[in-house]
């Protein structure tokens, strides 16, 4: 999105007008079912539905229906006005002013700019202990980093209620992608009175107050959570569903059984063994999900061990046959990756490294050559350790990769499988270990910031002053696309990671009477206010 650029060019306060006029989510003439109820699987039980305690997608997914922030996303991922009707920025893009619509909480209380002030301060307050507090620190909201560390009080945060319907945010420096962040489910308002009255128990169905299209009516951990329509939601006339039952089923086979028995209306991940035959058996239930911004890559230790040598890193990366990985092993629509940032990322100009254009045979030859140059041969084979969590897909992939390294390079790579919690806590994970990333916002810096020197998630321990310089200067550029492209070029020329695949278009099953659930959003951000049940 180029909003910030235009704002700079205009060098004056301008207003982004509401581009969407609230409308019914179904096409005219659609016959609706009398009973607007659906059952969906959320893939796991959530840690919390308190926006300040969420840290992962199953919770965010519910959050989008329960709470509405300043802005939301449309089906293609564009930012749409939410509780804010419109917004504007000052000359140097450091102060953003949001005009809020008059809306209400699910208990009928009016929602004001003060609610946003309270909620954003609460998110950063160390006493809240939010696992996603850092998200408000990414756009450098004034004092956010200091508050998180306990060096400043939450009341010093750069947010202000100018009046009941005007919310102002001050940033420490212009951040070109700030407006992309405000749709995130942790930056929503929460109801102060309820939280102060009930403490930790404020999210229980009998206590909770929400401001989104739905609110909670029932929650039994590991069985189900039932949401019902929020009668006070500002756009309630355009919400069709009356009731959503969310199941927390983690096992794809169990979820599939429930779908086949007619108890769930959507089966998102279908076990690969049964996928082909099922998609063929139920052609009118097959739907497409477009690629979301997520990818799997592998970290290599760039500071120690054999992988310190860039020739070894390149050889390891070249020797992976990504077509076999995606088509034969994963069968989930994944697309081979030779770089870090998914090319469909908004405003990103992807770079194609040379090795991506070679045939696998060429890559294998080059890999063998590089490894020989690095001094490894039959009498002195390359020996490495490769750490992965015990998830079956990770073990499957690692086994295939080790096989490729053995047959192409004669390398002896030992797989160390660790229970997930042990894997996550590992401080020294060996030569190679499984990595991966899901975009926090649709912009390349969410990917490239990982690999700055001493970055929190820079598990390759990659250090390159030029890279750091590019990423630092990109922060204040109007159009950082070129800086991003150069940074990614450095990263891949140094082969700090082994890119393997990114999520691609996939197919899944959905009952044909469910409408409005097109899975096209690049961040997989879905809102059930768009969903309806057609008459059968």
């Amino acid at each position: 999105m180029k909003i910030s650029k235009r704002l700079m060019l205009g060098a004056m306060v301008c207003t982004v007008l509401a581009s969407n006029v609230p409308a019914k989510p179904y096409p005219p003439g659609t016959q609706l079912a009398p009973k607007q109820e659906i059952t969906l699987n959320n893939g796991a039980e959530v840690t919390s539905i308190d926006p300040a305690k969420q840290a992962a997608e199953p919770a965010f997914n519910l959050g989008r229906d329960l709470f509405e922030g300043l802005a939301v996303q449309d089906k293609e991922g564009k930012t749409l006005p939410g509780i804010a009707k419109s917004w504007s920025a000052n000359d140097d893009n450091t102060v953003y002013t949001f005009k809020l619509r008059r809306s209400k909480w699910s208990n009928g209380d009016p929602l004001t700019a003060h609610d946003f002030v309270y909620s954003w301060r609460r998110l950063l307050n160390p006493e809240t202990a939010s696992p996603y507090a850092w998200f408000a620190a990414i756009p450098r909201i004034k004092n956010s980093a200091k508050i998180m560390k306990g060096e400043a009080g939450p009341e010093t945060l750069g947010v202000r209620a100018v009046d009941d319907v005007t919310f102002e945010v001050t940033l420490e420096q212009p951040v070109p992608f700030f407006l992309k962040l405000i749709t995130h489910p942790v930056l929503v308002p929460v109801h102060q009175e309820t939280i102060e009255k009930y403490g930790n128990a404020w999210t229980q169905p009998e206590n909770i107050v929400t401001n989104g299209a739905f609110t909670v009516s029932e929650w039994k951990v590991n069985e189900k959570m039932v949401l019902k329509r929020n009668p006070y939601y500002w756009d309630k006339n355009n919400v069709v569903l009356e009731r959503i039952t969310w199941l927390p089923i983690g096992d794809a086979n169990v979820a599939l059984n429930r779908y086949l028995a007619g108890e769930i209306d959507q089966a998102l991940s279908i076990p690969s063994a049964q996928k082909k035959s099922l998609l063929k058996k139920y052609p009118d239930e097959v739907a497409d999900a477009s690629a979301s911004l997520g990818s799997i890559f592998y970290y290599m230790n760039t500071q120690q061990g054999p992988t310190k040598d860039v020739r070894v890193r390149k050889a390891l990366s070249y020797a992976i046959n990504r077509d076999i990985m995606t088509k034969a092993i994963l069968q989930n629509g994944g697309i081979p990756m030779y770089t870090l940032v998914p090319p469909q990322t908004d405003g990103f100009k992807p770079f194609t490294p040379e090795y991506a254009t070679w045939s696998q045979k060429q890559r294998n030859e080059e890999a063998r050559k590089l490894l020989a140059e690095a001094g490894y041969n039959q009498s002195n084979p390359l020996k490495l350790t490769f750490t992965v969590p015990t998830f079956s897909v990770d073990v499957k992939m690692a086994t295939a990769m080790v096989g490729m390294w053995k047959s192409v390079l004669g390398a002896r790579v030992e797989i160390k499988q660790l229970e997930p919690k042990v894997f996550y806590a590992l401080k020294e994970p060996g030569d190679i270990h499984r990595g991966g990333w899901t975009a926090d916002y649709n912009e390349a810096s969410t990917w490239l910031d990982i690999f700055v020197t001493d970055g929190e998630y820079n598990d390759s321990k990659y250090r390159n002053p030029d890279y750091d310089q590019l990423m630092t200067s990109s922060k204040t550029m109007n159009d950082p696309a070129e800086a991003y492209r150069q940074a990614e070029t450095l990263l891949i020329e140094d082969m700090a990671i082994i890119p393997v695949y990114r999520r691609g278009n996939d197919q899944y099953l959905i009952k044909p009477y469910i409408g409005g659930y097109e899975r096209t959003n690049p961040e997989a951000a879905y809102y059930r206010k768009n969903v309806y049940v057609k008459a059968r």
């Binding site: 696992p131 930790n200 999210t203 039994k220 590991n222 069985e223 108890e263 996550y424």
Partner: protein, 306 residues
């Protein structure tokens, strides 16, 4: 007798404390903590969270805080289901597991004993072989194989029964999980019962009774049944505790929301509070039912004194 019960209950207190200490220690020495995640949190955020849950305190201080809260009836917070306390989670999930467990027990005990007795009375006949092969099949087919088979037949193919869910324990939702739980235990109870019954039937006093011309049914109910019960009762005590505290396979497969799933996912997620809470419940029940079994012995066989 009363003194004996009191003494056993008193010993239970240090036993439980010891179990608590050991499991607390085991949880803490396992590498990886509740807040180590796929995407690690910034150190400062992690420190804030650990401070909130006292995880930054020394081990013994943490244990002391746990015991103090426990004595006040507070099982502490869940680290993974942060909107709930462990007490709430147990209150939600235990009735589910207990219902399933008691129902399956009510089916498997009488049925298992009946089959075992029938097989023993017809020892080495075709009926015996048939029943015992059937029971062997029941023993070797685990619930995680049986449950999907039942679901495929009754839910997907025939559409008679729901494939999962609890819905407050409506009977139709109970049938498949109870069956999956019961079939295995019917089989093992039948095997134990058959063995015990055969042994009793070989006793000299049974031969004497037979020689007196007593009918088989009289013989069975007045002479053979009680002594055969001892091994079965010995087995049923721990089996009952296991079955009423939930089965992770049933919970995951049928999405019932029972306690078995909490126990396993709690351990995998390092949800210390949840695991401790359930461990202490299981331990207390085990101690209690072992006592009940011991008392039952004296009723079944008056020669046993306590």
């Amino acid at each position: 007798m009363l003194l004996y019960v009191l003494r056993r209950l008193l010993i239970a207190v240090p036993t439980l404390l010891f179990i608590a200490l050991v499991s607390f220690w085991l949880m803490h020495i396992a590498p990886g903590g509740p807040f180590d995640m796929e995407r690690p949190m910034p150190e400062v955020v992690k420190a804030n969270i650990e401070a909130k849950y006292h995880l930054n305190e020394p081990f013994l201080t943490q244990f002391f805080i746990y015991v103090r809260d426990f004595l006040q009836g507070d099982l502490g917070p869940s680290f993974v289901y942060q909107d709930f306390t462990v007490t709430q989670l147990v209150a939600q999930s235990w009735p589910v597991s207990a219902t399933l467990g008691v129902l399956s027990f009510c089916i498997s005990v009488p049925l298992g004993m009946l089959l075992g007795t029938v097989a023993a009375l017809n020892r080495n006949s075709r009926l015996d072989y048939f029943l015992m092969s059937l029971s062997m099949t029941g023993v070797v087919i685990p619930a995680f194989v049986l449950a999907p088979v039942l679901v495929t037949i009754f839910s997907i193919q025939l559409g008679w029964l729901p494939a999962g869910g609890w819905e407050g324990g409506k009977p139709i939702f109970l049938i498949l999980p109870v069956l999956s739980l019961a079939i295995g235990s019917i089989a093992s109870i039948a095997r134990v019962m058959r063995g015990a019954m055969i042994e009793t039937l070989n006793q000299p006093y049974i031969r004497t009774a037979r020689a007196k011309g007593l009918s088989t049914s009289y013989l069975l109910f007045h002479h053979a049944l009680r002594p055969s019960l001892i091994p079965v009762v010995a087995m049923l005590g721990p089996a009952f505790v296991a079955v009423v505290t939930g089965s992770v396979i049933i919970d995951i497969f049928f999405g019932t929301g029972g306690m078995g799933q909490h126990f396993v996912s709690g351990a995998l997620n390092r949800d210390y509070g949840l695991v401790m809470g359930i461990t202490l419940i299981v331990a207390s029940l085990t101690i209690f039912f072992n006592l009940v079994v011991d008392l039952l012995y004296t009723i079944i066989d008056p020669r046993i004194r306590i």
